[in-house]
């Protein structure tokens, strides 16, 4: 078989399911299905939780990327491997691991629960933690690559002119890596938005508190309520396409 035939096969593998989804889409009722009470709850919760996961990833992940790129310390390669582990770990395994760490009986969660009566599972906070666990690596690897490839002469020039480290980071380093950070943030957000396995395993599944769009899609398709499931799928497909189009120069080589 020629490469062209195999290439066409590869395209078919990706494109045919999308066509299948669009062919089954009940276009006339999509609007009404999205106005369904639980669908609206899922839309709002997904937006809140994915933005929450993005915020956690930015606050914790950018400094981590900086440390990995700039500091030399023993075990740095191991740290780098561990940070990217959730990208290849099956999310459901991540969910179980989160449960055994931060669940009510988890080794850390039990102290939290005993001291405060508060726990992560079954709360939106749990969904944010699950999403951040899975999505943060996308930000860390993008940001780390940007910090590494940065021309350090600008920073050194700022230093010789007397700029303190914090000022240098804010006014010289950050603006230089901003485009890469924006791309990493978009990917992170999109991955958080689509998170399913870790969320349902760790955070649970209840409308308004933990039932994000992928969970609502799962429950609706299992319950034979395919209209709502397809309408929500369309939203997620559209968001994914918008993110990819927005990133095309960086990730797809642009034209």
């Amino acid at each position: 078989m020629t490469p062209a035939v195999l290439a066409a096969g590869a395209m078919a593998l990706v494109v045919l399911p999308l066509i299948g989804l669009l062919l089954r889409m009940p276009w006339s009722s999509v609007g009404g299905d999205l106005a369904d009470h639980d669908a609206l709850l899922a839309l709002r919760l997904s937006l809140e939780c994915s933005l929450g996961a993005l915020a956690v990833s930015l606050v914790l992940g950018v400094p981590l990327a900086w440390v990995l790129a700039r500091r030399r310390f023993p075990g740095r390669s191991l740290a780098r491997a561990l940070v990217t582990l959730p990208m290849v770990l099956p999310p459901v395994v991540g969910g179980i691991a989160l449960l055994y760490a931060f669940g009510r009986r988890g080794f850390a969660g039990r102290w939290l629960y005993a001291l405060t009566g508060w726990r992560l599972p079954f709360t939106a906070g749990g969904a944010i933690v699950a999403e951040a666990f899975v999505a943060m690596p996308f930000l860390v690897i993008t940001a780390e690559a940007a910090f590494r490839s940065l021309d350090r002469r600008a920073e050194e020039a700022a230093a010789t002119l007397g700029a303190p480290p914090g000022y240098r980071f804010r006014r010289v380093t950050l603006p230089a890596v901003a485009p890469a950070l924006a791309a990493g943030a978009a990917l992170t957000w999109a991955r958080a938005l689509g998170e399913f396995g870790a969320t349902i395993t760790f955070a649970g599944n209840f409308p308004g508190t933990t039932q994000t769009m992928p969970l609502a899609i799962f429950q609706d398709i299992e319950g034979g309520n395919s209209g709502v499931a397809l309408a929500l799928s369309l939203v997620l497909l559209a968001v994914s396409l918008i993110v990819l189009v927005g990133l095309r120069d960086r990730w797809l080589g642009g034209t």
Binding site: L99, F122, T210, G224
Partner: protein
């Protein structure tokens, strides 16, 4: 639960993969003389081929227990089960999943398939009762369903459409109480797992699920006058490629080895 999604996708698209990732595949390898046979096949040759049985999650233990007997009596028969919430199984069969037999935990889900013309006339083969499952020793001192509506008691129930969840909501309405679950589970086995892992204090499942969970949970009975009518129908799926074995399995569920296994697990005769 991702495994369930994978099964759903596989069942809809890839029969081979489906067989590989289902929970239980039993292929008889013994050639020893069969001492027990399916009731319907006593005077007929042994059953052969593969049989995909789509069954309500609450039937897991009973059906698995019957498999060894069925396959030792029919060495050429390979039974594969797909256990899930009855509503999920209905959705899979509607999508063309390769099912030979469907056993539901309620009449409503079976009726959906009957009305769609996808199954033969169903027959009721078992009855069940609801029961509250709590942590061993009942640390929260739960005595009845009303306690599950109290603040400070965390509960998981099954999703709308899953028979056990629908039965429970029916009793809630009858009692005039509102239980607000922390989470909605896709089937009874997932719900009871949330109790055994200690994430929630209680759930409502069937008496038989509490029985199957053994020492991992304590059961709190629900009064007989509150029990909804819980009947299990079973039917041959019209698209079956193995109608002989499918019919024999249905017969066995009504009055054969499968029925014996059901009674041993705490199900009631129809």
């Amino acid at each position: 639960m991702t495994a369930r999604l994978i099964r759903l996708a596989a069942a809809a698209a890839l029969p081979v993969a489906f067989a590989a990732c289902s929970k239980t595949t039993t292929t008889a390898t013994t050639t020893a003389a069969a001492t027990t046979t399916l009731a319907v096949t006593t005077s007929k040759p042994a059953l052969t081929g593969t049989l995909n049985v789509f069954a309500a999650a609450s039937l897991t233990s009973a059906f698995n227990a019957a498999t060894a007997t069925l396959t030792s009596a029919n060495p050429g028969l390979s039974i594969t089960y797909n256990f899930a919430g009855s509503n999920a199984l209905v959705a899979q069969i509607q999508q063309g999943a390769p099912a030979d037999v469907f056993a539901s935990a309620d009449q409503k889900n079976m009726t959906t398939l009957v009305n769609a013309g996808l199954v033969d006339t169903p027959v009721t083969f078992a009855k069940n009762k609801l029961e509250i499952a709590v942590a061993p020793g009942n640390p929260k001192h739960i005595t009845g369903l009303a306690d599950l509506a109290k603040p400070g008691v965390s509960v998981v129930l099954e999703s709308p459409g899953v028979p056990a969840g629908d039965y429970t909501r029916q009793v809630e309405t009858q009692l005039g109480i509102t239980i607000t679950p922390k989470s909605l589970a896709p089937d009874v086995k997932t719900a009871i797992t949330q109790v055994t892992t200690g994430e929630v204090d209680a759930t409502v499942v069937y008496v038989t699920d509490v029985h199957a969970a053994g020492a991992q949970v304590t059961g709190v009975p629900i009064a007989d006058n509150l029990q909804p009518s819980i009947t299990y129908p079973i039917a041959v799926v019209k698209a079956t490629k193995n109608p002989t074995a499918a019919q024999a399995f249905v017969q066995s569920a009504v009055s054969g080895e499968v029925q014996k296994a059901l009674l041993a697990q705490g199900f009631l005769a129809p």
